[in-house]
Amino acid sequence: MQWFDALVQGILLGGMYAQYALGMALMFGVMRIVNISHGDLVILLSLIGISMATAWGLGPLAVLAILVPLGLFMGWLLQKAVLNKVVGSDPLPSLIATFGLSIALQNLMLQIWSANSRSLPGGGIESRSVDIGGIYIGLLPVIVLVVAVALTWGLDLMLKKTRFGRALRAAAADVEAAAMTGINPRAVYALATAVAVGILGFAAVFQSLRSTVAPADGAAQLIYAFEAVIIGGMGSVWGAFIGSMVLGISQGIGFRIDPGFGVLAGHLVFLIVLATRPQGLFGKA
């Protein structure tokens, strides 16, 4: 029963990681850019959300309604101001640029919000449980998982069926040919990054509800998102979701073995996947 409980907790944790991983999978799949400040952006959104909630007495839904559009805008701005200048075959400039941005953001947040941990007041939702088949599970983690599934499904649908999704996939396959077909790569990239960071708006709310956030937390979130994407297989939205599940479950079981072992268990599973199946569980060899 203990192990089943660990499994369930792991899946719920995976739902949280999936919300980080989706945006990263999208950006890398389309532009082959990894945004090192990805984790810091979540923390920034979280802190902004918490400050607003405290200042204006907003509930989580209201904060969500503000953070998602804010995330969309931030992503769009990031692409236009920074990333469009470093898209290309050489990975070094985008890496260094987003790395510098990450350092700047972390310390800016430190300056503005200090190193204290904060969380979003949720009006009790953090402590509610729901009875599923005889097991009591926290309501919030279930919501997180459901939202993660919905986001993944929505993103996948968007890529497959909408005009924007097709343009994104075309630009990912061959950006010059995409331009020859009338696609403006820069505009498409800006929208892609906007979507990627918009999704982080959800992650920001949920992360600050379920636990505390502090300016230095971004690095850990980046690593989890990255591990999830690698485990699942690059270039696949559902792959990123499954990878998040695997990571969450690994950590859940690790926590159950020993509280100090949880995160390390995740890292080890990641390294094992890397050693044995580097293209990821769903990636093409």
Partner: protein, 343 residues
């Protein structure tokens, strides 16, 4: 056919010599030797506090140059070199403190650890695409930190102290630190320069400019990358061992501090990637900025981060890159010039 062989004998091959050194190079070499000696004899002209400060600067220079070698020549952008620094640091403490080996010998022996670790790590990571390789190196550093936090051999999270050093006088310790510092500079900077001037250097520069073209000319790019990775691991290990020996204390968060990666990247990008001159310039700038503005804490790092971002966007070749476009006066020349003695 006769027309061709006639032509071949008609023009005599000119007697040329190959010149490697330049005037700027000679000046720089002289200054470098002077500086190296000055570092080695620090106990005779500097206070303990100054020695510590210069030692720290030399560690930054060493780590930055290793990062430069990795990113600038092998195209491997690592943000996890601190893994090797901490590994060698811990190895030093375990060898010297736990097993009672002479600390200075232990420094050299500790280098075996990063060297041995680098091999499987490279094979694990090198299949990862550019930016994913980078984060992979970070994960590795994190794994090291977590393992160290739970490993009784290194006293887990509580860390270790290098108490055996108390058997030496302060002066003796200073002499040892200064010599190790000079040795570290010699190995990392001097070693890099020697490497660039050797036949490996040609391969490295070719690899830097265009790996595909280099491979087509017979350069074994993957093997060279691997060798550079291991060399950089050992270089960082040496910096780590030296640094923590001076600190006299080590614990998981300080051993595997990502700060080293941040500083190395800043130094190399601002100074100029792919050149030793750039590392020196960048280190100097960082050192001055750190002394003057370090007290401003977080804001100072915001500026450092923004500067790194701006350099990556608008001035990828850094300060040395901009300078060398105007003036051809390298401090560490390795190009070959053909000189016709008859002119």
């Amino acid at each position: 056919m006769t027309a061709i062989s006639d032509a071949a004998t008609a023009i005599p091959a000119p007697a040329v010599t190959v010149r490697r050194q330049t005037n700027s190079g000679r000046i720089a070499m002289t200054l470098a030797i002077v500086a190296l000696v000055a570092v080695a004899v620090m106990p005779w002209w500097a206070s303990t506090g100054t020695i510590r400060m210069i030692l720290e600067l030399c560690c930054y220079i060493a780590v930055a140059q290793m990062w430069n070698l990795l990113a600038g020549y092998a195209g491997l952008v690592s943000v996890g070199q601190q893994a090797f620094m901490g590994a060698a640091g811990y190895a030093l403490f375990v060898l010297a403190q736990t097993f009672g080996i002479n600390p200075f010998l232990a420094v050299l022996l500790s280098l075996i650890v990063p060297a041995v670790l680098a091999v499987p790590l490279y094979f694990l990571l090198h299949r990862l695409d550019g930016p994913y390789f980078s984060i992979g190196t970070w994960v590795v550093a994190e794994v090291f930190r977590l393992v160290a936090s739970n490993l009784p051999l290194v006293n887990s999270g509580a860390g270790m102290s290098l108490r055996v050093m108390s058997q030496y006088s302060a002066f003796e310790r200073n002499v040892a630190m200064s010599l190790l510092c000079a040795f570290m500079l010699l190995v990392t900077l001097g070693g890099s320069y020697w490497l660039l001037r050797s036949r490996f250097g040609l391969a490295l520069i070719a690899m830097r400019d265009n790996p595909v073209a280099a491979a087509s000319q017979g350069v074994d790019v993957s093997r060279l990358r691997f060798l550079v990775y291991v060399a950089a691991a050992v270089g960082c290990g040496l910096a780590g061992a030296v640094y923590f020996m001076a600190q006299l204390r080590i614990n998981p968060p300080s051993a595997f501090d990502p700060m080293w990666a941040n500083v190395a990247i800043f130094i190399v990008m601002i100074g100029g990637i792919g050149s030793i001159e750039g590392v020196l310039i960048g280190s100097l700038i960082f050192f001055i900025a750190d002394r003057w503005f370090g007290e401003y804490g977080a804001t100072y790092f915001v500026v450092l981060g923004l500067m790194t971002l701006l350099v990556a966007l608008y001035a990828r070749t850094g300060i040395w890159g901009l300078l060398s476009r105007r003036f051809d006066a390298p401090w560490f020349p390795f190009r070959r010039f053909l000189v016709d003695p008859n002119r």
